[in-house]
């Protein structure tokens, strides 16, 4: 029985199916030259791999690590200025709209990607569902219970609450952790669906939660919001009604 070198390599790489594997193992038992060839391929593969092992131990240069930290612009949110800007944008002609929305789509995608890179693992405060990413754990709890601007004891701070053009409730949040995250979540059924996640800078103090809100989140709010952010009374009422909207009740 004669095997090509390519077949023996595939065997050494664990790539052959059961039958082919059995044939080679039988041949190895009979012919030491075949066994040696397989061993040589295995040892060679290990040698090549170990030649590059050191790269994994090296510290990642800052310029690369910075890339996945994402947008960290941290302006203080001035809602009045934002409202004025928005009114101006609406007053201009309709062709403004499309680029605005595609910019939003791009920033949503970037935000989610950066979020996935930054925060994978079992303790992630969100998980993938058929509907996309939905909030879980402390993030879900805070979005459901916490009133905007209140200083809770957890790591999540809710920024503003508003209704989007489809009528659904949306809330911005800031999650304090080693690599702080900010984002926008909108109520969908019984869950908070994440619209955007972005790296944020650390909060400068308890009293300025808005200072850490990245531009990407602000843009997403701007593009999604219908009317004005909820005031404290409206927000409290919405929470007490379980964030259900009229269309939910009708269903």
């Amino acid at each position: 029985m004669k095997f090509s070198d390519e077949t023996l390599m595939a065997y050494a790489d664990g790539e052959l199916d059961l039958v082919a594997r059995a044939e080679i193992e039988a041949a190895m038992a009979e012919d030491p030259a075949i066994a040696r060839a397989v061993e040589r391929h295995r040892a060679f593969a290990a040698r090549v791999k170990s030649a590059y092992g050191g790269v994994l131990e090296e510290p990642v240069p800052e310029r690369l690590a910075d890339l996945v930290k994402g947008p960290v612009a941290a302006p203080v949110v001035d809602l009045a200025a934002k409202r004025a800007e928005r009114a101006e944008a609406r007053a201009t002609i309709g062709r403004w709209r499309l680029p605005q929305w595609s910019a939003l789509a791009a920033s949503v995608a970037v935000g989610l990607f950066v979020g996935m890179l930054l925060m994978r693992g079992p303790s992630a405060p969100y998980e993938e569902s058929e509907a996309g990413l939905v909030a879980r754990g402390e993030l879900d709890d805070a979005l459901t219970q916490q009133l905007a601007g209140s200083v809770g004891t957890g790591r999540v701070r809710v920024g503003i609450s508003f209704r989007d053009r489809g009528g659904a409730y949306c809330r911005t949040f800031h999650l304090e952790r080693e690599a702080p995250l900010a984002g926008l979540a909108c109520r969908s059924g019984e869950e908070w669906k994440l619209q955007l996640l972005a790296a944020a800078s650390a909060r400068e103090g308890e009293l300025r939660p808005a200072a850490a809100m990245p531009m990407a989140v602000l843009h997403a709010v701007d593009a999604a919001i219908e009317g004005e952010p909820l005031d404290a009374a409206a927000e409290s009422a919405a929470r007490d009604a379980g964030w259900r909207t009229n269309s939910d009740v009708a269903e």
Binding site: V55, V60, A106
Partner: protein
């Protein structure tokens, strides 16, 4: 993830400076095209595919610029391994530097990253038969350069 991207880049570009530049370009491209990544699919495979394409674009551009591109020797980028391990690593890296890009990429994915043939072929967007033949030719060439063809162990 970043250390693995850097390792893959080191294998396919052959030097530290190019490798980190490639990682930077690839991450930037990935951030721009993040919506093309399908949740649930392998993110590493997707990133390596982006790196492969970015590197091929880069070498084409260089060849246009220079016509001849002499491979640089692998530099002092081995970390603090023992002298012997460093020599072996250097000789493997120097030998790798002499292989064609396509063989180097196949070796980078299968031998260094531990991808299955199927995943490696998908990452490089080539048929699996092409992958296995590039891998085999690359290995044979490497062994020949390193002078251990036919030797056991």
């Amino acid at each position: 993830m970043l250390p693995r991207l850097r390792r893959f880049a080191r294998v396919i570009t052959r030097n530290l400076q190019d490798a980190d530049d490639l990682v930077q370009v690839a991450v930037e491209k990935a951030l721009i095209r993040a919506e093309q990544w399908r949740p649930g699919s392998r993110m590493d495979s997707w990133m390596f595919g982006i790196m492969k394409n970015a590197w091929i674009d880069e070498i084409r551009a260089r060849r246009r610029r220079e016509r001849v591109h002499a491979p640089e020797e692998a530099g002092a980028d081995i970390g603090d391994a023992s002298a012997e391990a460093r020599d072996i690593a250097l000789s493997v890296q120097a030998a790798m530097a002499r292989l064609p890009e396509e063989q180097r990429m196949a070796i980078a994915l299968v031998l260094v990253e531990g991808f299955s043939y199927k995943d490696a072929a998908e990452t490089l967007a080539i048929p699996i038969g092409t992958l296995t033949s590039r891998l085999a030719r690359g290995r044979e060439a490497l062994q020949a350069i390193l002078g251990d063809s036919g030797k056991a162990g």
